[in-house]
């Protein structure tokens, strides 16, 4: 299985995602420049963390107009696996590929720390190797990670089993403790925590590897 990692000029977790996949997961990974019109022949695409185009405006507000995002939209519509991590989640939300928005953390400060996540559903290509209720440890590092959506959307997400991860101890004020969600077709996931930073014991946790392994397993049985 081939992973593509999108590189916006302000992406700064692109190397980390590439390293996690190629070294710790053991799958080929390649970078995709933000001006690319196509994703080439990748089987899954990752929108990594960072500050896409500086994000001095709303996070991801400019990224959604980039050529690569048009390609990502087509890829997602064709059923391709899309994982948005941190800034990637913000971009997916801005692009309308996922509902809701990521607003400033409740405490108005950037927060970097290890958190515990509850795996809310194993019914997704991103968590199919996890068990429902399983606790995963991985870090967060964001200033604008408070998940916000209207009540109806939140109810819908829950009713359709599209909340993938919840914070055990909500660090940023996210509504209903939401840390990660799926689109309706379940092939696009956005999450604020960084699974790519938790893919080997030396980094304090390998739990994030489960997300990537799940993607590989889901792809294999497709």
């Amino acid at each position: 299985m081939r992973f593509g990692v999108v590189v916006f000029p302000g992406s700064n977790c692109d190397h980390d995602a590439w390293y996690a996949i190629s070294r710790n997961l053991g799958c080929p990974a390649e970078f995709i420049w933000h001006q690319s019109q196509s994703l080439g022949n990748v089987d899954a695409v990752i929108l990594p963390g960072g500050f896409s185009y500086g994000d001095y405006l709303r996070c991801g507000a400019i990224a959604k107009f980039s050529p690569v995002m048009a390609a990502v939209r087509r890829f997602a519509a064709d059923g391709g696996l899309v994982l948005g991590i941190c800034n990637g989640f913000q971009i997916l939300a801005e692009s309308g590929l996922l509902p809701g928005a990521l607003i400033r953390n409740r405490g108005l400060k950037f927060i970097c720390r290890q958190v515990e996540l509850e795996t809310v559903t194993a019914n997704s290509p991103f968590t199919c190797l996890a068990s429902k209720g399983q606790t995963l440890r991985m870090p967060i590092a964001h200033g604008e990670g408070c998940y916000y959506a209207d009540e109806r959307t939140l109810d819908e997400l829950e009713a359709e089993d599209r909340v993938v991860f919840r914070y055990r101890d909500n660090p940023n004020g996210s509504l209903r403790d939401i840390a990660g969600i799926l689109n309706r077709e379940r092939n696009v996931m956005g999450l604020m925590p960084h699974p790519e930073r938790a893919t080997e014991p030396l980094m304090g946790s390998s739990d994030g590897l489960l997300v990537f392994r799940s993607m590989a397993a889901a792809f294999a049985v497709r």
Binding site: P9, G10, N12, C13, H15, D16, Y19, A20, G49, G50, F51, Y53, G54, D55, Y56, K109, F110, I111, C112, R113, P139, A141, G143, H194, E196, R197, P201, L202, M203
Partner: protein
């Protein structure tokens, strides 16, 4: 004919003698632009004119050193074909005037110094000093400055994508009017791909890349070379505004451009901007540089040559490329959406020749600007000393209350509120992040890890600058040894008051000599650094604050951290209980926090013993014998014991000391050369200690959930861990009122 008046010359902070020297170098009166150029290059900040004669005393060579002082950053060989570039720099004055942007651009400046060497930055550490947060008069301002500085560092480092992995934060009255913001950055490069700032090749194009030039930061370097009087806010326009996104683009573009092989030399435009980068690159390469300002990308219309040459707009670099290969360079910068323009070329005559639309507006020998600034042997006397020598009478009423007061004090309490605002993990190299004795970063492609720590102690240096500086080096090296790393090289940031005052100059000289002695002894040559003088507001100088950053090497593996892991382990105080007397006790956190006064002298330091303790510690760590290790420093043994108990395992210790030392001393003295460790193999640890001729008393055993410290059968302090941890962990937030 010159139109320069004496007032104009003195407004440029040039003395009459300096002006005469300029006239004799040029063989004529300088014009206004040339006066500006000389004034920034000959400022204290750029020329080190007051410190240069003494900086020569520092050791700068060693087996690991590839590049010592004189380049944008020092470079050391770390093995496996890899090199590390690192340096510390101050941004004290701007951070006082505008805390957020001052600190942010401080980070930006030092990052450019690293990647201009061809090294990708992988870590930042900060040494911060502020006035007390709870001071009734200045507390509100100190809190605002702290919050602004921390947000500024977070803003810049997080967006740029470099982890901020450690540092220190200290509160002392003297920093109320003059906070210190020292930033260390460190980057890695292939050893055979290091870039230097030496212009070469007559006819080679000089290329300007990055942000456009604006009117911001004009005379920043001169501002940083003067003390503050009255309302510093009027200096605010001198502070630059940082754009970390642009810097990130510049990083990627520069590294990619270097890959083309078309780049001959490169230097960032930091202090003194275009002026400094042109004349320094020219001078280092023994070459001339000719530029025409009409080609310099400008943010606003109507800028004069003076303004363009002196602007300190951020996120700009100057490079020399091979003639005929410009397009290869331009292509890379275009890809990253950055300006890249040829503004001139390298010449053979050694001159900095600045034209504006073809008309020469400045013409000065590069060497005169970069290397022939006046050097002053400023008179010095015994260092300024504000504190008494003799101890006041004191007797603790309640040792446990004192212990808690220390744990909740600004210098000792947890700095989590600060470092959680920094992304300390990005790039996934952080093996041990903030909050420990030293940060540890792996180099992915190898089995080599780097350990880095920053240390300074203004209080010690205020009492005895030579000894304070020696202690800072010893402690920084000990921090590295505590995580199992061998210290190999250092960088320093010397923060002092006005060197024209002989008693301040005395502090500087003593501190440099003490640092030189210790760096030589611990084999950590200084590969670069920064001097920040004139740290005074309204005539009140800061405590002399030399800060040292040391880089060490260790094999990549699970980190050795400070916290106890399991109950039932032996607790050993490697180095022994140490010693203290009433005079030395006056420099401790206990004196400062509990007694509210400072006197006497810093702790004694036996450097030979210290070195043996550290060697023993490294051997213990390498053998995997220690489950935890923590340097005993601020607050002494009682504080170190508590800190080691604050880990996720919730394991504390029961300690029984066989000593007749006075109880306050026993618990809280800050004698060096001591490391608190826990081990499952005490005999093996003791055997190593014996071999190094180092004491290693077994002082207790780890237990679940509580801490108790007794001496000769009497319990001195005792607590459950949780309430104590809460006290320590929330103290800073309480002080900030957040």
């Amino acid at each position: 004919m010159s139109t320069l008046t004496p007032e104009l010359i003195s407004a440029h902070q040039l003395t009459e003698q300096e002006y005469q020297r300029i006239v004799s170098i040029l063989g004529r009166e300088p014009n206004y632009t040339e006066l500006g150029i000389f004034s920034v290059m000959w400022s204290e900040h750029c020329s080190y004119k007051s410190s240069r004669v003494h900086l020569k005393k520092l050791p700068t060579q060693g087996s690991h050193v590839i590049q010592g002082p004189g380049e944008n950053a020092g470079v050391i060989d770390v093995g496996g074909g890899w090199a590390v570039a690192f340096k510390i720099e101050s941004h004290n004055h701007p951070s006082f005037i505008e805390p957020f942007q001052g600190a942010a651009t401080g980070v930006g400046g030092i990052l450019r110094d690293i990647f201009t060497m061809g090294a990708r930055p992988i870590a930042v550490l900060d040494s911060l000093r502020f006035g007390p947060l709870d001071d009734p008069r200045t507390g509100a301002r100190n809190r605002r400055i702290l919050a602004g500085v921390v947000s500024g560092i977070a803003h810049y480092g997080n967006c740029f994508g470099v982890p901020t992995v450690g540092g220190e934060c200290v509160f002392e009255t003297g920093y109320s009017g003059n906070p210190l913001v020292n930033v260390l950055a460190l980057g890695v490069a292939r050893k055979d791909r290091i870039f230097y700032a030496r212009a070469a090749g007559v006819g080679n194009p000089v290329i300007y890349v990055g942000a456009k030039t604006g009117r911001d930061g004009i005379h920043g370097a001169s501002m940083a070379s003067a003390e503050f009087t009255g309302d510093a806010r009027q200096k605010r326009p001198n502070v630059q505004v940082g754009d970390p996104f642009l810097e990130k683009l510049l990083l990627e573009a520069c590294l990619e451009a270097m890959e083309t092989g078309a780049i001959v030399a490169i230097q960032d435009m930091g202090a003194a901007g275009l002026t400094c980068s042109t004349c320094e690159m020219g001078s280092r390469g023994g070459a001339g540089i000719e530029i025409d300002l009409q080609y310099v990308p400008q943010r606003e219309a109507g800028m004069t040559p003076y303004e363009i040459m002196l602007s300190e707009s951020q996120e700009r670099m100057l490079l020399v490329a091979e003639k005929g290969r410009e397009e290869e360079v331009f292509r890379v910068f275009r890809k990253w959406g950055l300006d890249a323009v040829t503004i001139g070329c390298v010449t053979a005559d050694g001159m900095l020749r600045v034209k504006n639309h073809g008309r020469v507006v400045a013409e000065i020998p590069n060497r005169a600007l970069a290397d022939e600034a006046p050097v002053y042997e400023r008179p010095y006397t015994r260092p300024l000393r504000k504190y008494p020598m003799d101890a006041p009478p004191f007797r603790s009423a309640d040792l446990e209350a004192d212990w808690k007061a220390l744990l909740a004090s600004g210098d000792v309490c947890s700095k989590r509120w600060i470092w959680e605002q920094y992304d300390y993990m990005v790039r996934t190299n952080t093996v041990a992040g903030p909050g420990g004795d030293a940060a540890v970063l792996r180099i992915k492609e190898t089995d080599i890890s780097l350990a880095v720590a920053l240390d300074g102690n203004g209080r010690y240096c205020a009492l005895a600058p030579r000894q304070g500086a020696r202690l800072a080096v010893a402690e920084c090296c000990r921090n590295l040894s505590t995580v199992g790393a061998l210290p190999v090289a250092a960088t320093n940031c010397l923060n002092f008051g006005n060197p024209e005052r002989p008693e301040i100059m005395g502090q500087l000289v003593e501190a440099i000599e003490g640092m030189a002695e210790a760096c030589r002894f611990f084999e950590t040559p200084i590969t670069g650094g920064n001097v920040s003088l004139y740290n005074e507001t309204l005539g009140e100088a800061i405590d002399p604050t030399p800060v040292v950053g040391v880089v060490g090497l260790l094999k990549t593996g699970p980190p050795l951290t400070a916290d106890f892991k399991r109950p039932g382990r032996a607790v050993i105080l490697l180095g022994g209980l140490g010693d203290c007397d009433e005079i030395q006790f006056g420099s401790t956190q206990y004196a400062k926090v509990v007694l509210g006064r400072i006197w006497g002298l810093p702790p004694a330091l036996d450097m030979d013993y210290e070195k043996r303790v550290q060697a023993a510690m490294r051997e213990i760590a390498a053998a995997g014998l220690a489950e935890s290790a923590h340097d005993v420093s601020d607050g002494g043994l009682a504080v170190a014991l508590a800190e080691s108990s604050f880990g996720p395992a919730g394991v504390g210790a029961v300690v029984e000391l066989a000593s007749g030392m006075r109880e306050e001393f026993l618990l809280f003295h800050e004698g060096p050369s001591r490391i608190l460790l826990s081990t499952e193999h005490p005999e093996a640890v003791e055997a190593i200690a014996r071999r190094h001729g180092v004491e290693a008393p077994r002082i207790g055993v780890t237990v679940e959930g509580r801490i108790r410290l007794a001496a000769r059968g009497r319990v001195l302090v005792e607590s459950a861990i949780e309430p104590l941890r809460r006290l320590w962990e929330t103290a800073l937030e309480r002080m900030l009122g957040v």
